[in-house]
């Protein structure tokens, strides 16, 4: 009898141990903050569906953001075929349910949007109905008929990114420029309010600049030839457009700070200041970026993770994490892509380098969650006003 009792207790103990281990093993993201709240932004873009999980620390009315997870599924929605449509719906609903169930994020903290890129392409090919159908199918798939899915335009996207990335203290004197792969967009708030937004657009991006340089190469595929042609692209038609767009924007006179986001800003920031690996923003000077361009061209090996990590003397920096981040950058941007992107970045920065007045340049690493941050700010403001109402 005693033996049976003992055996039962042991069984119970084992069951309890396994259950508690199972609870501990849930995919709970590591929070950087003590009073954190997890938010999610899911965006249907031109390439596919992207989900960002953002850890938000609310502190005396301000909110600090930390990207916990960034995942995407390439579904190529803008092909507008039945296959890519169903793949997009599946990915969209799948990521939403992942946020809901795996990360336990309530629906009011999940934001769902369709990007301006999709909107432009749909308008171009007269496929606006596909967007409406996508949103309806998504609502059915997640069983939420009233789910809000915003279709944002370029102006809204740039405005939301500015609101989400640039801190309130620098909001009205910062010009934000997002260098994408195919184009560049951005803007600033000229009138001291968040409704008037001056949009800035360029048809040049990192990939399009690199492609233009590649196209000019005839036979000689060396790096030297690429660099020469890249110089010609940036000094020619790209330069004309950049100078014109910046002059028209009036940003020079209205801004003290010029912040760059997008893939190239992230990669340059990571490689140029590995000491600030934990920062989402890295201040730089024109001369620093110029020197960095030379380094990519003449001493590309020095940008490997081994070489960079070797020179880090700060004992508080996690070298394993730093190595991982540098390797990711080097995987996304090869030498030529880095040259093209940095060349374009320098070309834009050059327009703000005055003899008497110098602007402060910033490279923003987490630009992709800019719009999510803006939605979070809005949601927090609403939650606060509701709380006060009660």
């Amino acid at each position: 009898m005693f033996y049976i009792y003992l055996r039962r207790n042991f069984l119970l103990l084992f069951v309890l141990l396994f259950v508690s281990a199972g609870i501990i093993a849930q995919p709970a993201p590591i929070s950087k903050y003590q009073k954190s709240h997890l938010y999610s932004g899911i965006e249907v873009g031109s390439k596919g569906v992207k989900m960002s999980l953002v850890d938000v620390n609310r502190n005396d009315g301000n909110a600090d953001f930390n990207i916990v997870k960034d995942t995407s599924s390439n579904t190529d929605f803008i092909s507008f075929t039945p296959e890519t449509f169903s793949a997009t719906v599946k990915a969209f609903a799948g990521l939403y349910l992942t946020a809901r169930k795996d990360y336990n994020i309530p629906p009011n903290r999940i934001f769902t949007v369709v990007s301006s890129g999709v909107k432009i392409q749909a308008a171009k090919f007269d496929k606006n109905a596909w967007i409406t159908r996508l949103i309806d199918s998504f609502r059915v798939a997640i069983n939420q008929p009233t789910r809000e899915v915003d279709v944002v335009n370029v102006q809204d996207e740039a405005r939301l990114s500015h609101l989400g990335i640039v801190p309130a203290a620098k909001r009205y004197n910062t010009f934000l420029i997002d260098i994408g792969s195919g184009n560049t967009k951005g803007g600033y708030f000229p009138n001291g309010n968040t409704t008037d937004f001056k949009l800035f657009q360029l048809s040049w991006g990192t990939k399009s600049t690199a492609n233009a340089a590649e196209k000019r190469i005839e036979g000689d595929v060396t790096l030297n030839a690429f660099n020469k042609q890249l110089y010609r692209v940036l000094a020619g038609s790209a330069n004309d457009e950049i100078v014109y767009a910046i002059n028209v924007s009036g940003a020079y006179n209205m801004s003290d700070n010029i912040a760059f986001s997008g893939g190239i800003a992230w990669s340059v920031a990571t490689l140029i200041s590995p000491e600030l690996i934990n920062n989402s923003v890295v201040p730089v000077t024109f001369q620093e970026v110029e020197k960095f361009y030379d380094r990519i061209y003449k001493n590309y090996k020095s940008l490997s993770s081994d070489e960079i990590v070797k020179k880090i003397s700060d004992p508080t920096i996690n070298k394993v994490d730093l190595t991982k981040k540098i390797n990711t950058v080097n995987k996304v941007f090869d030498q030529r892509a880095l040259l093209a992107g940095t060349g374009l970045l320098l070309k834009i920065m050059r327009q703000f380098e005055g003899i008497y007045e110098r602007k402060q340049f910033f490279l923003v690493k987490n630009g992709q969650v800019g719009w999510v941050s803006a939605y979070v700010d809005k949601a927090i403001a609403e939650e606060n006003s509701n709380a006060k109402g009660k």
């Binding site: 200041s273 600030l276 920062n279 923003v281 201040p283 700060d314 004992p315 508080t316």
Partner: protein, 330 residues
């Protein structure tokens, strides 16, 4: 079949027999050894009948716990009190009055705890101990203030010593210097000034102090756990300033673990020193400068968690270190 049953019964009876034997021997042991032991004790008269005194064990426990509270309250002050009063002339009069109250209260509680009259006294003692604890807290707070003030005054005296005097009093014709250290905390000798480099400023009277903010009041502190922010200051001077009026100084405040405290992600960054090494700066100070005029610069630097140890503040201009100081937080 029958044989099997018989063997089972035999086995069971054997077990029962062994079990009864065990019980019997246990009883025998109890009876023989323990009882005889008691009897021996009785014989020797070790246990004698005493006049019975009714003891309230709860009251004793309460008295003990109150005594423990009392002792803790007293020991918290310890020898701190004497040393702090020694240095605090300005606080002597109010401190004396408070100390008299404290001593009186201490005597009263001690007397109450010695008397064993019952619960009423214990209640009174409890109240008095609470009062004593609050007095101890007040005195400890005052002690911290006195200690901080004392350290600040010692630092000022150190700075006023002739060997630590900044080069501000040097004649205009004397070349501007790049001081290597005006350390207020450490005892390293101040190195001889180096010849100036054109455009570089001299930075002196470097100060770094930790402050705590309570009830909208800022009080200087030397305790890491109390610190909310650093306030740093220094004076710059240059008889031969660069052409541009807008000067930029970079401040590096390093924590004891070696990491640089950053003002914010948008205000901190990296720079290259004249030796070619890359360094993280805490914040940037931009200012306009008129030739030959000493200018005082101030900054604040908040951090969420200050650890005990030595904090270093360095001032850089164009990658060259102009000055350095340290601050120790306990």
């Amino acid at each position: 079949m029958k044989e099997t049953r018989a063997s089972i019964l035999l086995f069971l009876s054997l077990i029962l027999f062994i079990f009864s034997l065990v019980i019997l021997s246990f009883w025998g042991y109890q009876k023989f050894f323990l009882d005889s032991g008691n009897a021996q004790n009785k014989g020797k008269g070790v246990i004698e009948m005493q006049p019975v005194q009714i003891i309230d064990s709860a009251a004793i426990a309460r008295r003990d716990s109150l005594e423990a509270l009392y002792n803790t309250a007293i020991s918290r002050l310890g020898s701190k009190l004497d040393s702090s009063i020694m240095f605090a002339d300005s606080l002597r009069i109010p401190m004396n009055a408070q100390l008299e109250e404290y001593a009186k209260l201490k005597r009263e509680v001690s007397d109450l705890l010695k008397e064993k009259n019952g619960n009423n006294d214990l209640e009174l003692a409890k109240q008095k101990i609470a009062e004593l604890q609050s007095k101890v807290r007040d005195l400890l707070g005052k002690y911290d203030m006195v200690e901080a003030e004392n350290k600040r005054l010692v630092a000022i005296i150190e700075q006023l010593k002739p060997e630590n005097k900044p080069p501000v009093h040097q004649p205009e014709t004397a070349p501007a210097i790049i001081p290597t250290s005006f350390d207020t905390n450490n005892t390293e000798p101040v190195k001889a000034p180096k010849p100036p480099k054109f455009g570089f400023f001299a930075a002196y009277d470097l100060r770094l102090s930790a402050w705590t903010v309570t009830d909208n009041k800022e009080i200087e502190t030397y305790k890491a756990f109390q610190a909310d922010k650093f306030i740093g200051s220094f004076i710059v001077n240059n008889p031969n300033p660069p052409v541009s009026n807008n000067i930029e100084m970079l401040i590096v405040v390093t924590a004891p673990d070696g990491h640089v405290i950053q003002k914010s992600e948008w205000e901190s960054g990296t720079f290259e020193t004249v030796n070619g090494t890359k360094k993280v700066y805490s914040l940037k100070l931009n200012f306009d400068y008129t030739k030959g005029e000493p200018k005082k610069l101030l900054f604040t630097l908040a951090a969420s968690d200050f650890k005990p140890g030595t904090y270093t503040m360095q001032v850089f201009q164009n990658g060259a270190q102009l000055g350095k100081t340290t601050r120790i937080l306990n």
